[in-house]
């Protein structure tokens, strides 16, 4: 008796610890969704601003709808298909079972990116229009194996004679299936469905490459938002948790109520049954509403867009640009002024964008970087800009006119420009010392263990080349070898932490003293943490420019020109630059931002150098990039 009691206490402790472990991060997320400061890790007071921002953002609400709709559909379909197939396989020939099991392992095992690329190529060969359906198909594809992995063990522990017995007793195969097998393996089916739902709900990479035409899920938004540590992702997650808890609460409460009311009479049971039916239909209607709502929403907009259709041929503009790269009201103002609707899609890197273009995806305006524009021109992906349709080209600042990658502006119109530099905490790092050492501060062991280095072969080799006095476009093997040695020494003596976008949050919080950062991200860091300063080393750095281009396969080139022209207006350029923190291509805005005190006059990260002879732009060189990527993996992995 005593022992049983003790084991009861033991189980309770295990359960409590388990829940604490699972819910600590969740609690953290909920608390930080009310954070006033723009940080995911440091609390700066209570505020609802991220909720306001989230509800104001229609794309976010739309994404929640798509995510739930796809997750529900994918779960239901893959649970049925997976269960039926798993049962069938128990009676199939060995070789078929083995084939299905091996193939099922593929999506579970392959890195998402491999599955994603294979599907991207597959859909592109079939030339299907990507969107809701392709994303749903992809999700069903990777969900079924999880269901089967959950159902199969339960089937194997089933007595094989059970079905025979049922059928001997006169059951049809269908009855044997639904009355005998399914109840026996129900726990497996339930856990399979749960896992399928999780996988679908949480998937980013495969969804990203399988979707298109503005159909986004929560994960895609979260990944693009994390570019700029946007705490709305915490608010969004909190809402999701709340919705799920509510839904599960209702589903679970009904049977409890039934138990509480004691042994129900026949009539009561009928009521409860009806209640269940009502619940199920409510859930069904909700799903339908989401799908229909999304579809009809665009329909009503379409009616208002007649004028635009007459003028441009179509009232929809498809824009593809880096995440968190737009002013707060730029898109809504453009939509209002021209009576059109804009579908915005985001990419994480130029290469990600290039991958989608290669697969034939069509956009009206892209915003790639300088070197990628070179590649797109060379690969014949672009159409020339008709300068007569873009009168605002006159507004361009001198610093962004006539840049190397497109000297006479035939193919591209600048969007943002910036530099790469060092953000440092001037309380802990002597400004005179870091100015004198430049990039070599990353070799100064006084700061070992306190530096963030950007995890990118291009930017890292740029620092090394510049520190050694070479051109950052060099392909001289001896110089590459020397730069590799420089980076290796940095890696082995400084124990740097390799980061990407999370560097913004970490430097705002002052976790480390020195970080390699893009100028616009540095602007944000300096804005939030006054101990931080920014330096463009004297040895030279990368000055880059992202520009708007129109692809050959654009469906609405006229509206694309209109959009490009609009982005060069004072209002749009101002909103863009103020929100994002990168230098504006608009001369007037650039002047104002960098001279007015309430803007960025005192933020040394805002204005990039121009005309400094040691600064360079990247040129496209695929073989060199592959070579550097190999060396970069070696630097990080060899230690």
């Amino acid at each position: 008796m005593n022992e049983a009691k003790r084991s009861g206490v033991g189980s309770k402790i295990i359960l409590i610890l388990t829940l604490a472990f699972f819910y600590l991060p969740i609690l953290y997320i909920v608390i930080f969704s009310f954070n006033d400061s723009r940080s995911l890790t440091k609390f700066g007071g209570f505020s609802l601003r991220w909720y306001e921002k989230m509800f104001a953002d229609s794309t976010m609400m739309e994404a929640v709808g798509y995510t739930v709709a796809i997750a529900l559909l994918a779960t239901v379909i893959s649970t049925i298909v997976g269960t039926v197939t798993a049962i069938g396989l128990t009676k199939s020939r060995r070789i078929l079972t083995a084939f299905v099991e091996r193939v099922n392992d593929l999506p579970v095992m392959n890195p998402d990116i491999v599955t994603a690329i294979s599907l991207l190529m597959f859909f592109s060969v079939l030339a299907v229009r990507k969107g809701f359906l392709t994303m749903l198909l992809a999700h069903i594809m990777f969900c079924v194996p999880y269901v089967m992995l959950s159902v199969t063990p339960k089937l194997r522990s089933l007595d094989p004679n059970l079905i025979e017995a049922a059928m001997d007793l006169g059951a049809t195969p269908m009855q044997a299936l639904t009355r005998v097998i399914v109840p026996q393996i129900r726990p497996g089916i339930v856990s399979g469905a749960l896992i399928a739902f999780t996988m679908s709900f949480d998937d980013f990479v495969i969804s990203y490459f399988a979707t298109g035409n503005g159909v986004n899920n929560i994960s895609i938004l979260v990944y693009t938002m994390s570019k700029r540590v946007n705490p709305s992702i915490n608010a969004l997650s909190t809402i999701v948790i709340l919705l799920i808890t509510l839904a599960l609460g209702i589903v679970n409460l009904v049977p409890i109520l039934r138990e509480k009311s004691g042994a129900p009479s026949g009539a009561e049971r009928g009521v409860l049954k009806r209640r269940r039916l009502v619940l199920a239909s409510v859930a069904g209607i909700l799903t339908l509403a989401i799908v229909v709502g999304v579809a009809s929403g665009s329909g009503s907009v379409r009616r208002r867009q007649q004028a635009a259709i007459e003028k441009y041929g179509s009232a929809v503009l498809k824009l593809y640009l880096p995440g968190e790269y737009l002013g707060e009201n730029v898109i809504s103002n453009f939509e209002k002024e021209f009576g059109v609707s804009v579908i915005v899609e985001n990419f994480d890197s130029n290469e990600m964008m290039y991958t989608k273009l290669q697969a034939g995806d069509a956009y009206d305006v892209l915003v790639p970087s300088d070197y990628m524009i070179e590649r797109l021109i060379a690969g014949n992906y672009l159409q020339p800009i008709d300068h007569s349709l873009v009168p605002n080209l006159n507004n361009l600042a001198d610093a962004v006119v006539g840049l190397d990658y497109d000297v006479d502006g035939k193919w591209s119109v600048p969007y943002f420009w910036g530099s790469v530099g060092l953000v440092y905490n001037h309380e802990n790092v002597d400004p005179a010392v870091i100015k004198e050492k430049g990039w070599d501060i990353l070799h100064d062991t006084d700061y070992a263990g306190r530096v963030y280095v950007y995890d990118s072969e291009r930017d890292s080799f740029m620092m090394a080349f510049k520190a050694l006095g070479y051109s950052m476009n060099t392909d001289d093997p001896a110089q590459i070898e020397a730069a590799y040695e420089w980076l290796r020494q940095m890696n082995n003596t400084m124990s740097p932490i390799y980061v990407t976008d999370e560097v913004i949050d970490s430097m705002i919080n002052g976790y480390q003293d020195i970080a390699v950062v893009y100028s616009g991200d540095a602007t944000v860091i300096l804005d939030e943490n006054e101990d931080m300063s920014f330096l463009m080393p004297d040895e030279g750095t990368n000055i880059w420019c992202d520009a708007m281009v129109i692809p050959k396969n654009a469906e609405n080139p006229k509206l694309a020109h209109e959009f490009i022209n609009y982005m060069l207006t004072y209002e749009a350029a101002f909103d863009n630059s103020e929100t994002v923190g990168y230098a504006s291509p608009n001369a007037e805005v650039l002047e104002e931002m960098s001279t007015q005190e309430d803007l960025y006059a005192e933020n040394e990260a805002y204005l990039p150098r121009s005309g400094y002879e040691r600064d360079e732009m990247f040129h496209d060189n695929v073989t060199l990039q592959r070579e550097l990527s190999k060396y970069w993996i070696r630097v990080k992995a060899e230690s």
């Binding site: 069938g88 396989l89 491999v114 190529m121 709900f201």
Partner: protein, 278 residues
Amino acid sequence: MKQFRSMTYPYVAWISVMIVVPMLLIVLYAFTESGNDVLTFRFTLDNFARFVTDRVFLAVLWRSLCIALITTVICVLLGYPIAYVIAQLPGRGNTIMILLITMPTWVNMLVRTYAWMGILQDEGVLNGLLSVFGIGPVPMIHTSFAVILGMVYNFIPFMILQIHTSLDKMDKNLLNAAADLGADGLHTFLRVTLPLSLPGVISGITLVFLPAVSSFFIPKLLGGGQYVLVGNVIESQFLTSGDWNFGSAISLIMAVIIMLSMYLTRKADVSVASAGKE
């Protein structure tokens, strides 16, 4: 039984189209040279040679397998008792616990990992807690501890679900019979419960180990980028250096190695299970 057999045909057709054909495109990339001209395929084994002859890549693959293995072992060791305790709970508590454990996985993985980054900082919650006892700050973020913790956190729900499934609805008569025959608790567990739950453990291992080998977000964020794993290498081949051929080759090599190890695991499972039946 013919009716049952034919139930598999639609799915076999489906995976042939949706998984096998797209995978063949990856195989094609792995065995060809890169070039801008898509129409001419030049077959080569260079992509594989590059991987096999470079000890850095082999080290990366080895490290990925080790981390995945450690994660899997911890998930089994922690997940089994948790699943066992949950399975002992009376009906409704059982369901609610399983839902409570699954629910955190519906919050985006990136968001959860960011939360762990905050928790594990030197100024974070955990170190704050330790400092109450006069310990610390213990460096946790950017260590192997952080990486393993993040991986276990992310994957253990699948292990618990699978083991729980196999323990749930287990024939209680078997346990009673064992007790009647004089087996004590431990014996009953070792001889009856454990062998019966083994299929669940194996499928839990599949669900943890396979994705863990190629995971890269968690090691990247919590490990501070020093933990270069094979997932990172493959991802960077596709998304930064644009070398699809090499990326495809690496993922094929990884697939073959994992398939082999899974094959052996399942074989072990079958022989243990059949030994148990005898």
